[in-house]
């Protein structure tokens, strides 16, 4: 695969990609490392220090919550959970979406029509309500959240991959390869995959913030991650309860969530610019 040189240079020189990717990386590193270094444990309850504002006292950088637990460590744990759920869910949607879309696009014809009709039907469903229903019915569990989010987000990926595959199929360079007798696997490896990979990377990047949104939405409703574990959505939920007396409990996790989402969206947009430039002349 010749996926080198130019693309890497462009990635490195695209400011949007550099800045947003850097911020995400920094947040992830802090979220992984900081809880290990902090003297406070995310489950440690302290009724002596309830709802403390951010400060250096007791090293509660983001203050404490209504049970006196350290908000900084809890927020970092929340970032971890949020990122893991989102990334795993995106991979689920990536696998389903790419396979489904590539098959529909490559086979084409009636198979494609039926497969896409099915996607259209699913699109018209109020999915989030199904997810709420599911989480209520089957108690809450982690796996269910992955599945639920993945099940929503693969639709976009399938549509995009199918469209790209269809347009690739029409391109003369594929016909030239068929004509010469390049084996199907080599056609997929050399001609289709490298031309799909850009757009897939872009849409995975854009799927992650959507998955984060769904996860934190469920957690906000109290249907996602359960205490004492936490996620940014749960923290915002708690923050809303205390926002008049302790606004930082809302502002910090809410702001962090917004920054993460913003960075992923910008990263996706930046990546699209990079790959689009590569596609065109």
């Amino acid at each position: 695969m010749s996926f080198e040189g130019l693309t890497l240079t462009r990635l490195a020189t695209n400011r949007t990609v550099r800045v947003s990717g850097g911020i995400i990386a920094a947040i992830a590193v802090v979220a992984i490392v900081a809880p290990l270094l902090s003297p406070n444990h995310y489950m440690a309850v302290n009724f002596e220090a309830v709802l403390q504002p951010p400060g250096l006292a007791g090293l509660h950088l983001f203050g404490t919550d209504d049970l006196g637990r350290d908000q900084f460590v809890r927020t970092m744990m929340g970032v971890r959970v949020t990122l893991v759920v989102a990334i795993v869910a995106s991979i689920v949607s990536l696998v389903i979406g790419v396979i489904y879309g590539a098959v529909a696009g490559y086979v084409g014809g009636r198979v494609d029509a039926v497969m896409m009709r099915f996607v259209d039907t699913l699109y018209a469903m109020p999915f989030i309500f199904f997810v709420i229903l599911l989480t209520v019915i089957f108690e809450r569990n982690f796996v269910l959240i992955f599945v639920a989010i993945g099940a929503i987000n693969w639709l976009d990926m399938a549509r995009i991959v199918r469209g790209q595959t269809l347009s690739l199929k029409e391109r003369p360079f594929l016909e030239a390869a068929r004509l010469t007798g390049v084996p199907t696997m080599a056609i997929i490896r050399r001609h289709i995959a490298p031309n799909l990979i850009g757009i897939v990377i872009v849409y995975v990047t854009l799927t992650i913030p959507q998955a984060i949104l769904v996860e934190s939405f469920l957690s906000f409703l109290g249907l996602g991650i359960q205490e004492p574990e936490t996620s940014l959505g749960s923290l915002v939920d708690l923050g809303v309860d205390h926002m008049e007396s302790s606004p930082w409990m809302l502002i910090i996790p809410g702001g962090l969530l917004a920054v993460i989402l913003l960075c992923f969206n910008f990263l996706g947009d930046g990546l699209r610019d990079v790959f689009d430039a590569r596609q065109s002349r």
Binding site: A124, M125, I137, F220, V236, E244, G255, A258, F266
Partner: protein, 297 residues
């Protein structure tokens, strides 16, 4: 086309989900005496095999009967009738606001492509897409109700129209952002097209070009987005109604789900699915009206 199968699929799927629950609606909290449970099961047709129940349910739906509630003395029709108006008002206003503001901002930014204004609008739209509604809504309350005290935060406490402002704006913001981006992107595409260049060469002037030549094609992606937009608004309304304490359908859905009041859950899911399907249908019709190549296929 395809609206009826989609709706049917939603109903059947939801129905089987609800009925695959380990344990019925009456065995959650306390154990009922068997004879009472039997009476309850018969009353709600729960003793029939599931396919028979489904057939009965579908039959009732056709007559416009959503069935009884397991938890309330009201039936589901009455609950919906009670809760729908508030949701409809907020959702409808938010949708209107989102379309109006999104189309204007998007067109405005596209006409000044690559200017500072364009970058500001694009940046704001990106931010609007990125901040979750459950962060936006409390933040708006914190700023405009708690600190500035300009607008009421609660729904029930304030009678005037002012109570609509914050919920509607919070619900509309992400959609405004999305529609702005869509409109801007498609308008830029259209403005760079050959036929707009022709229109410029004909000296029609920007206003007439946008009005007569560019608006229709630029609207197409927004029209396609109507279905997803209404779905987004319905989802958002769950948050908005819980943050502002609005007794609407979204809040009713979450409460019913927690209470395992399945017929109420079903009723709301069916209603929402019907709304989404209806909007998708409307989008198809509008698309056909706007694009002659689709119309004459």
């Amino acid at each position: 086309m395809g609206a009826v199968p989609t709706l049917l699929l939603v109903i059947v799927l939801a129905f089987f989900l609800v009925h695959s629950v380990p344990g019925g609606p009456f065995d959650s909290e306390r154990v009922l005496p068997p004879e009472i449970e039997q009476v309850l099961l018969e009353r709600y047709d729960l003793d029939d095999p599931v396919p028979v129940q489904l057939a009965k349910y579908l039959g009732n739906l056709l007559k416009g009967d959503f069935g009884p509630s397991y938890r309330s003395t009201l039936n589901v029709n009455q609950i919906i009738a009670q809760r729908f108006p508030a949701s409809l008002a907020i959702g409808g206003l938010a949708m209107t606001l989102a379309l109006a503001a999104g189309l204007m901002l998007g067109t405005w930014a596209a006409l000044r492509h690559n200017s500072r204004l364009d970058r500001v609008v694009t940046g704001l739209a990106m931010t609007g897409i990125s901040i979750p509604i459950f962060v936006v809504a409390p933040a708006l309350v914190l700023i405009f109700a708690v600190y500035l005290n300009w607008l009421p935060a609660g729904w029930t406490v304030s009678p005037g129209p002012a109570k609509y402002v914050l919920p509607v704006v919070a619900l509309a913001l992400p959609q405004i952002a999305y529609i702005t981006r869509l409109t801007r992107a498609s308008m830029i595409d259209v403005l760079q097209s050959g036929y707009v260049r022709t229109a410029r060469a004909q000296g029609l002037g920007t206003a007439a070009i946008v009005r007569h030549h560019a608006l229709k094609p630029a609207l197409l992606p927004v029209v396609s987005y109507l279905g997803p937009a209404i779905a987004g608004i319905l989802t958002g309304s769950v948050v908005i109604e819980s943050v502002f304490g609005i007794p609407g359908l979204g809040e009713g859905f979450v409460t019913a789900a927690f209470n395992r009041d399945y017929l109420q859950v079903m009723g709301i899911v069916v209603l929402y699915a019907a709304l989404v399907v209806l909007l998708n249908l409307l989008a198809d019709v509008l698309y056909g009206l706007l694009d002659p190549r689709v119309r004459y296929e």
